[in-house]
Amino acid sequence: MISTTSQSKFRNILLKTLKIIAVTAFWILVWEAVSRFVARDNETMYLLLPRPVTVFETWLDIAFTAEYLAAVGKTLLRVFWGFILGVALGFGFGVATYSVKIVDILLSPLLKMIRAVPVVAITILFFALFESDALPTSVVVLMVTPLVWQTVHDGLSAPNTELMEMAKIYRLSGFKVFTYIKLPSMLPSLVTATVNALGLAWKSGIAAEVICEPRVGLGTILIEGKGMIDFSSVYAVTLTVVILSLVIEVLLKSLSKKFVDLRRNDA
């Protein structure tokens, strides 16, 4: 006999899945309707806004070819390395600006400024400095670092008066204060920032690929598609990016949830 809790859990998952399917179906229908409306007087307008079934057929045609999979792999690697480096640098800078006043005074304005600069501007500026293969990774690093830095810095600076008083009286070392109090209290917001940074990493990495056109990459396929007025492949590549982004985000969220739950100091 299935327990009430299991039944309830199964029902919740089923409801959630049905909701996702219903919402997705709704927007696909809207897309279909808009596509037909745009092309109602001129069928060549389907080139600009292809119907969902056309995009999906194009995606099936290209998604499993060696060339496309190589492009996906290359883009994934570029974004991944940029993201990892960006998070590491952001974390390091956050700890540094929190811990050392002069570093805070010198570095914070620079990082705030970088955060405000648009992706395209940075990409064009970097175009002259980096070869096309390394450029997307560099752009991702520059986009992710300030976001993570701000979260770490603000998280470490946030007052946690009660625990800090306990730490003072019980003579906890700076290292213990950081490891047992500051870091756990900062983790939830750091996880959120990291997930947001991932979304930013994807967009900026592919935008950089579109501009610098590396030999192999999803961004290159996008710009080539535009050049050949093959918007079906543009949409198909976009679909790939969205799917990959969602999968990685779900994985990251569930991994980090386990880690955060283990270490949170709130009740």
Binding site: E162, M166, K168, I169, Y170, L172, K176, R264, N265, D266
Partner: protein, 190 residues
Amino acid sequence: MIELKNVSFSYGDRPILDNFSLTVPNGQCVCLKGPSGCGKTTVLRLVLGLLAPDSGTVLGAEKPSVVFQEDRLLNGFSLKTNVLLPPLTDEQQAKALLLLQEAGLSDALGKKVRALSGGMKRRAAIVRAVAFQGDILILDEPFNGIDPENKLKMAEMIRREFLDKGKPVLMVSHIDSDAELLNAEIFNLS
């Protein structure tokens, strides 16, 4: 000895203590009582050095032990980690584990604090304070949430490790029987 001499303290424009004096001799316990907002916790915080008086002198200790009104334990870490977190010698750490056993917490050493009951957390906070072996002990509603049997055990632990060793104890409690557990002299703040 704990001593406050002619201490005045205000939070902004709100005076809390005015020319207040109190002495807790070594080996004795004083329990502060009074209505909410009369300054009991302020007195404790002054003795701990968390506040500075506007005037007067406060004699506390370089190394106080304290049980806060809130447990102030690290919920994401184990009971054992919490109690052993302060800088303790090997001997003090070994003693801390014995104290945890005495407090009936041996079976919960590896559990995260957030998984413990309120009474267990309270006992853990007391053990942490006792294991730290401060020169004075400050207690703010120390026995809240602890059942009568365990209250006796914890009171005995405090008596043995502080009062019998000639160290002063200053406490705040609304419950007369809790003050009686430590043979505390009542001091009414009004």
